[in-house]
C-alpha cells in the first residue's frame, strides 16, 4: 500500500488553502522531508497538475472548460445532491444542493462573490451557548480574510468607468435591480468579487473559458504545486479507516476511463471534499471507527447524532419575475458577470441580503431555482399556500406551449432573477442512501426561517412591482424545495469541552482521532447570511496558522514526528 505523510481530500476553498500552506511549511521548515498529497474526485481542467489525468483538449485559455449549458458537461463539473424521496411528494419539504466537482472545487462554479461574514453570523446562539467556538469572530478572522482577499485578488465592482476599469463594472441587470431597490426605499451596492481582468463573457458560472475568474488553480493550488504537493485527480474516496501509521484511504481511480480500486495510507488526513461529501465520507466510514475512536461522540453522550445534522442552506432562496414592459431599461441578464451587486438594506432588521443573478433559462423552465409561472396568489404567505395561476378555462396556466415560449422570448429583456441569502436554522441534513450514494434532506422549516424567507420574498415581490412587473411562483412555496448553492455544516465544529454538540474541535480535528481533520464548509456551525467561500478559506488559513505554529493545538511538526 502506498503511503503519504499528509493527504488532503478535496481541492476547494478548504483543501486548496491547506495544501498551499502545509505544503509550503513542509518545504520550507521541514526540509521537504514529508510528502503532501491531494486527492480530487473531479478532473484537472488545466491539464497541469496531474500528469496521469486525461480530459479534453486544452483550449487557448489554458484550460479544458467548455462555455456551454449542456447537461452532460455540467455533470462533469458539478454535483447536485438531492432528496429523491421528498421530491416526489408535493408539500413535503425537499432539498437540492449544488457543489463544484473538479480541481478547484466550488471555485469552478461559483460567482466569485467574496464577502466577509458579518459579526452577527459568528455570534449566533442556541439558548445561551454560542454556536461558533470562541476563537472565531469577525474581528479574529479579519486578518485571514485580508490574506485570502489578497491571494484571490478580490476587488470591489463599480457602477461607472470613471471609478474603475471597464472590466470591473456592474451589469445592466444590476442597474435594473438597483432602481427597483431605490423605488422601495432600499439601496443596491456593488459586490466584492474574485475576478481579474475578466472578459465579461457572461454565463460565467457554467464552467470557465477565460482566464479572468480566479479559480483556485490560479492561486492556492498553484502555490501548492510549487510547494511540491502531489496531485491525483479523478480519484474518488469511498471510505477511510484507521491504519498502522494513521489512516487508510480507499477509493476508485477513474483516470483515463478506468475504474481501479486504490488504497493509500497516511499519517495526517484532512477531509476537504465539501460540505456534503466530507460529511458523507465520515458517515460511510463510521463502521471503521468504533469504541474509543467513534466519529460522532455526541451520539454516545446524548443518544442523538450530530454528524450529518445541522446542514444549512445559508438561507438561499431564489425567485424570478418580470419587470414592466414600460420600464426603460432591459435586464439582459445573460451578459456580464453573473453577480455584481447586492442589497444589504434589510440585514439589520431581518438578517438577509438580496442579490440579483444570472440563472440559465433551462433551470427555471425545469422548475429549479425558481419558475417562470405566474402565481395564483402571489401575495400568499407561507410555503404551501401558493398555486399556479389559472387561465380562463380554469386550468393552471401551462408551462408549455406558445404562450410560454413567448414568455421565454422576453427572457433577455424583461425577466429578472434574484435571491436572498439569510440566516437559517440549519434544518437540513446529509443522508447516505442504501446504495452508499449521498443525498440531502430538509424536512422541517422552523418558524424563524419561514418568517425570514417570507420577509425576503415580500421584499423581492415589492421590487418587481415597483419596476412594473410581478413575481413568479417559486419552487419553495410551490413544491417545498430548498435549493442551495451554499451548503454549510453537517460536521460542526465546537469547543473541545462540548463534544455533545459537534463532531470536530475548533481546529477541525476529530475529537477521538488524532490527525484526522475536516477543514471545509462542513465544519461551519451556522448559516453565514453571505456567500461563504471567503469565510471557508479564512477559517482554513486560521487553522493552518495554528497547526504550523503549534498554537492552541499540537503543531504539525510534532504530528509528523519531526525531530
Amino acid at each position: 500500500m502506498s503511503y503519504k505523510d499528509i493527504v488532503i481530500i478535496g481541492s476547494g476553498f478548504g483543501g486548496a488553502v491547506m495544501a498551499a500552506r502545509l505544503g509550503a511549511y513542509v518545504r520550507d521548515a521541514l526540509g521537504g522531508r514529508y510528502s503532501v498529497h491531494l486527492l480530487e474526485k473531479g478532473q484537472d481542467h488545466t491539464g497541469t497538475f496531474d500528469e496521469e489525468s486525461g480530459g479534453g483538449p486544452i483550449n487557448e485559455q489554458g484550460n479544458r472548460f467548455q462555455h456551454t449549458l449542456s447537461p452532460d458537461y455540467l455533470a462533469s463539473i458539478g454535483d447536485v445532491f438531492t432528496d429523491v424521496q421528498g421530491a416526489y411528494q408535493r408539500g413535503v419539504p425537499s432539498m437540492n444542493v449544488v457543489a463544484g466537482r473538479g480541481l478547484g472545487g466550488g471555485s469552478l462554479l461559483y460567482d466569485a462573490v467574496s464577502l466577509r461574514a458579518p459579526t452577527e453570523s459568528f455570534d449566533q446562539l442556541n439558548g445561551a451557548r454560542r454556536l461558533w467556538p470562541s476563537r472565531y469572530s469577525r474581528a479574529e478572522l479579519n486578518p485571514y480574510y485580508q490574506r485570502v482577499e489578497q491571494r484571490l485578488r478580490v476587488h470591489r465592482m463599480r457602477w461607472t468607468s470613471e471609478e474603475a476599469p471597464y472590466w470591473q463594472l456592474a451589469t445592466k441587470r444590476d442597474f435594473v435591480f438597483a432602481e427597483g431597490c431605490r423605488r422601495i426605499g432600499a439601496t443596491a451596492t456593488p459586490l466584492k468579487l474574485a475576478d481579474e481582468n475578466d472578459a465579461n463573457e457572461g454565463w460565467w458560472n457554467q464552467g470557465q473559458r477565460f482566464s479572468g475568474r480566479q479559480d483556485l488553480s490560479k492561486n492556492y493550488l498553484r502555490d501548492a504545486q510549487q510547494a511540491q504537493v502531489s496531485f491525483r485527480t479523478e480519484c474518488e474516496v469511498q471510505r477511510i479507516g484507521r491504519a498502522g501509521r494513521g489512516y487508510v484511504i480507499q477509493g476508485i481511480d477513474r483516470r483515463n476511463g478506468g475504474s481501479r480500486a486504490f488504497e493509500l495510507e497516511c499519517r495526517v488526513l484532512i477531509l476537504a471534499a465539501g460540505c456534503v461529501s466530507s460529511t458523507g465520507l465520515l458517515m460511510r466510514s463510521q463502521d471503521n471507527f468504533t469504541g474509543d475512536n467513534i466519529l460522532d461522540p455526541a451520539e454516545a453522550i446524548t443518544g442523538e447524532a450530530v454528524l450529518g445534522k445541522h446542514l444549512s442552506a445559508n438561507g438561499d432562496y431564489g425567485v424570478s419575475g418580470t419587470i414592466g414592459a414600460d420600464f426603460a431599461y432591459d435586464v439582459e441578464g445573460q451578459k456580464g458577470k453573473p453577480m455584481s451587486s447586492f442589497c444589504p438594506s434589510f440585514w439589520r432588521q431581518h438578517q438577509f441580503i438580496l442579490i440579483p443573478f444570472y440563472a440559465a433559462p433551462m433551470y427555471m423552465s425545469l422548475g429549479q431555482i425558481s419558475t417562470l409561472l405566474p402565481a395564483e396568489r402571489p401575495s400568499a404567505q407561507g410555503r404551501a399556500s401558493t398555486e399556479p395561476a389559472q387561465g380562463p378555462d380554469g386550468k393552471s396556466v401551462p408551462d408549455w406551449g406558445m404562450a410560454y415560449k413567448s414568455l421565454l422570448k422576453s427572457f433577455s429583456q424583461r425577466i429578472l432573477t434574484m435571491g436572498c441569502l439569510a440566516i437559517d436554522a440549519c434544518e437540513g441534513e446529509v443522508i447516505v442512501r442504501d446504495d452508499d450514494s449521498l443525498g440531502v434532506q430538509w424536512r422541517v422549516t422552523t418558524d424563524a426561517t419561514e418568517a425570514r424567507w417570507t420577509a425576503a420574498v415580500d421584499t423581492m415581490r415589492s421590487i418587481y412591482r415597483a419596476l412594473g412587473g410581478e413575481i413568479f411562483l417559486d419552487t419553495y412555496r410551490w413544491q417545498g424545495t430548498v435549493n442551495s448553492s451554499h451548503p454549510l455544516g453537517g460536521c460542526r465544529m465546537t469547543e473541545r469541552e462540548e463534544t455533545e454538540h459537534g463532531v470536530v474541535d475548533p481546529f477541525g480535528e476529530s475529537f477521538n482521532n488524532r490527525n484526522l481533520f475536516v477543514i471545509d464548509g462542513a465544519i461551519i456551525p451556522t448559516a453565514l447570511g453571505v456567500n461563504p467561500s471567503l469565510t471557508i478559506a479564512a477559517v482554513a488559513e486560521s487553522i493552518a496558522d495554528a497547526l504550523i505554529e503549534g498554537r492552541e493545538t499540537e503543531g504539525l511538526a510534532s504530528r509528523l514526528g519531526a525531530p
Binding site: 467548455q66 462555455h67 452532460d72 447536485v80 426605499g185 466584492k192 457572461g202 454565463w203 473559458r209
Partner: protein
C-alpha cells in the same frame, strides 16, 4: 371518461410476438422511470404507483405484426406532442420562422442514454453498470410507445378514432392540457416536457433554441464555445473599451454592451454606513 387503447390484431405465436415480447410494458416503463428517479426534476405531482393495477386504464400492449409502421406512427405522435410543448413557428408558406422543440433535437433527447447522463448530473442515479444499461434495451421504444398510447387515449376524447397526431392543432393542445391534469398520464408528459426544454434551452444539439429567446449564437457550436466577452458591436466584433469610443458606437446604434455604465440614483434616507464598512462588507 378514460381513453381506451386501440386493439391490434396479431397471432400471439408469431415470430413477431417473440420479438415484441421484449417490449417493456407501460408499467415497466414507469417502474424504470421511478427507479431512475429522473421524474423528480420533471414531475410536479406524485408519480402513480406502477404497482397499483387498478389505476392502469389499459392492459399490456398486445403483439403487433407491423412493428415498423407502428413505430413511425408512435414516433409521429411523440413528435406531434413535442411540437405542442414547444411549437415551431412558420409562415403561411411553411417556412420556419422560429424553431420549436423538434427543430433543436428534442426527439433525440428522449433516449435512455441521454436521460442517464442528465440524471447522473442531477445525482439521481449512481453510476450504472454496463450490463444494466444494456439490459434496458428496448426502453426507448417502450417509452415512446407508452407516450404515444397515452396521447391516442387523450385524442379519443377529442375526436373518436383519430390519432393524436391527426387532430387539429387546437384539439391537440386541449388533449395535452387534459393529460397534464391526469395523475396517471402527467408523469410521462412531464418527462417529455423535460426533454424538450433541456434540448431547447440547454444547447445540447443546437443553440437555435437559445437564439430564439434572445441569446447570441455560439461562436462555435461544435467547439462548444458560446459568445464570450463584452462589449461588442451589434455585428459581433469584440470591442476594446480602452481604444474605441463606446459613446460613438452607442450613438450609431452599434454597441452591444453588458453594462449601462451609469450609477443608479441614490436612495434618500437609506444610510448604508450603518451596515456596510468602507470596503463593501457587512459590518
Amino acid at each position: 371518461m378514460r381513453g381506451r387503447r386501440r386493439r391490434r390484431t396479431t397471432e400471439p405465436n408469431s415470430r413477431q410476438h417473440q420479438e415484441s415480447s421484449a417490449l417493456l410494458s407501460r408499467r415497466q416503463v414507469l417502474q424504470t422511470l421511478g427507479a431512475l428517479g429522473f421524474g423528480a426534476s420533471a414531475c410536479t405531482g406524485p408519480l402513480i404507483s406502477p404497482s397499483d393495477e387498478t389505476q392502469r386504464p389499459w392492459r399490456d400492449p398486445p403483439i403487433n405484426a407491423q412493428a415498423e409502421a407502428n413505430e413511425s406512427a408512435r414516433s409521429n405522435n411523440v413528435r406531434a406532442l413535442m411540437d405542442v410543448l414547444i411549437p415551431a413557428e412558420r409562415d403561411e408558406a411553411g417556412a420556419l420562422l422560429s424553431p420549436g422543440a423538434l427543430e433543436v433535437g428534442a426527439y433525440e433527447m428522449l433516449e435512455l442514454r441521454n436521460f442517464v447522463s442528465a440524471a447522473r448530473g442531477q445525482q439521481l442515479l449512481p453510476e450504472l453498470p454496463g450490463p444494466l444499461l444494456s439490459g434496458l434495451g428496448g426502453f426507448d421504444e417502450a417509452l415512446r410507445s407508452a407516450v404515444s398510447a397515452d396521447l391516442d387515449a387523450l385524442a379519443f376524447e377529442q375526436r373518436r378514432f383519430v390519432a393524436f397526431r391527426h387532430l387539429p392543432a387546437a384539439e391537440r393542445i386541449a388533449a395535452v392540457a387534459e393529460g397534464f391534469d391526469r395523475d396517471e398520464i402527467s408523469p410521462l408528459l412531464h418527462f417529455v416536457r423535460a426533454a424538450c426544454f433541456i434540448a431547447f434551452l440547454g444547447a445540447v444539439r443546437s443553440d437555435a433554441g437559445l437564439v430564439a429567446i434572445g441569446f447570441p449564437a455560439f461562436e462555435d457550436f461544435t467547439d462548444r464555445r458560446a459568445v464570450s466577452g463584452y462589449p461588442r458591436t451589434t455585428s459581433g466584433r469584440l470591442v476594446d473599451p480602452l481604444r474605441e469610443d463606446l459613446r460613438e458606437l452607442a450613438a450609431r446604434g452599434e454597441l452591444d454592451d453588458y453594462t449601462y455604465n451609469m450609477a443608479p440614483m441614490p436612495t434618500p434616507g437609506d444610510d448604508l454606513s450603518a451596515v456596510l464598512d468602507a470596503s463593501g462588507d457587512l459590518i
